[in-house]
């Protein structure tokens, strides 16, 4: 494998790693604020799973891009424009319904992604995927369970779920964005084919929404740019919160 090809592979692992880290931080923001103690523990458990996946992917990225950067370098010492996570994961937690919808839309995607990468020619990525798929299966089921209960719950919970869906649905288009780089990565076998992912994602999400008596929104606009470092306004604030300790006290450890 040439140096260039290896660099390209690093883009794939970095995108996935950033997805995991940013979602992990958003979920961690629920700590001590969830509707019940049980959900507090559940959401922070999921946050830790995502953080573990992020760490493994950053370590692999550092090997692939040849920089030998540490996990902390990726997480704390890059600026907003250098993060290549999708826009969906950075969206604010909102009410519990918003977080549940974000979880459903994203973890179903992530589950499909890990399932495809179990067969990756990059043995390390395949090993990460084999471990992560079990966690992702739980994350997806957790989100689906809550979607059913809130969607088909009270008038109030149904209304909030519909509102969350309307707000977040446009961001799902980016998950299946196929740029030239994606085509190369798919050809190399190190990224999942967006068309395959959509084929996995759509039936599951549709079924859960239908059972939850929720209506799948129409795509009204297509916000993209996360994969190229162009983020939504809320991301800068999140990053500042996440990075400030490390940047105020460089090299701090505990």
């Amino acid at each position: 494998m040439t140096v260039v090809a290896t660099d390209v592979a690093a883009v794939s692992t970095l995108r996935m790693a950033d997805d995991c880290l940013v979602l992990s931080h958003r979920l961690a923001q629920w700590s001590s604020r969830a509707p019940s103690l049980e959900d507090d523990v559940a959401l922070t458990n999921i946050a830790l799973d995502e953080l573990g996946q992020a760490r493994a992917l950053y370590a692999r990225t550092a090997e692939l891009d040849g920089t030998g950067r540490s996990e902390d370098d990726y997480a704390f010492l890059r600026d907003e424009r250098q993060f290549v996570n999708c826009l969906l994961v950075e969206q604010e937690n909102g009410d519990f319904a918003t977080t549940v919808v974000r979880q459903l839309l994203f973890t179903t995607y992530q589950h499909a992604q890990w399932r495809a990468l179990v067969a990756s020619p990059d043995e390390q990525v395949a090993a990460i995927a084999a471990k992560a798929i079990k966690e992702a299966t739980y994350h997806r089921d957790h989100a689906a369970d809550w979607t059913l209960r809130l969607g088909d719950g009270t008038d109030e919970s149904h209304r909030r779920m519909e509102a969350a869906l309307a707000a977040l649905w446009p961001y799902t288009a980016e998950l299946f964005e196929a740029d030239d780089l994606t085509a190369d990565l798919v050809a190399m076998g190190v990224a999942a084919d967006p068309a395959v992912l959509r084929g996995d994602w759509e039936p599951f999400v549709d079924r859960v929404l239908r059972e939850a008596t929720l209506t799948r929104p129409e795509i009204t606009w297509v916000p993209i740019g996360g994969r190229r470092g162009l983020h939504t306004e809320c991301f800068g604030y999140m990053l500042a919160e996440m990075q400030h300790l490390h940047r105020s006290h460089p090299g701090v450890a505990w």
Binding site: S36, L37, E38
Partner: protein, 96 residues
Amino acid sequence: MSNDARLPLWEVFVRSRRGLSHNHVGSLHAADAEMALRNARDVFTRRMEGISIWVVPSTAITASSPDEKDAFFDPAGDKAYRHPTFYTIPKDVQQL
């Protein structure tokens, strides 16, 4: 964090490994049995404490009354012959 009193209470039983019985580990709130099971998984087995979980609605449990403690338990107090203390237990048998 609000403690949502509208959600029913569940008692959680965890079996730590094969061959042992389920032990009561605590209780939690959940909307229904399936969510109670998921919550129990998150709250009580996140450090590999178990391989099997039962959840039971707390209302389904009938408890002995503290007022009847004497009638219930005291009569067993002086009947040492009910204890299998006259057998030697093989030392390889750890869970008996």
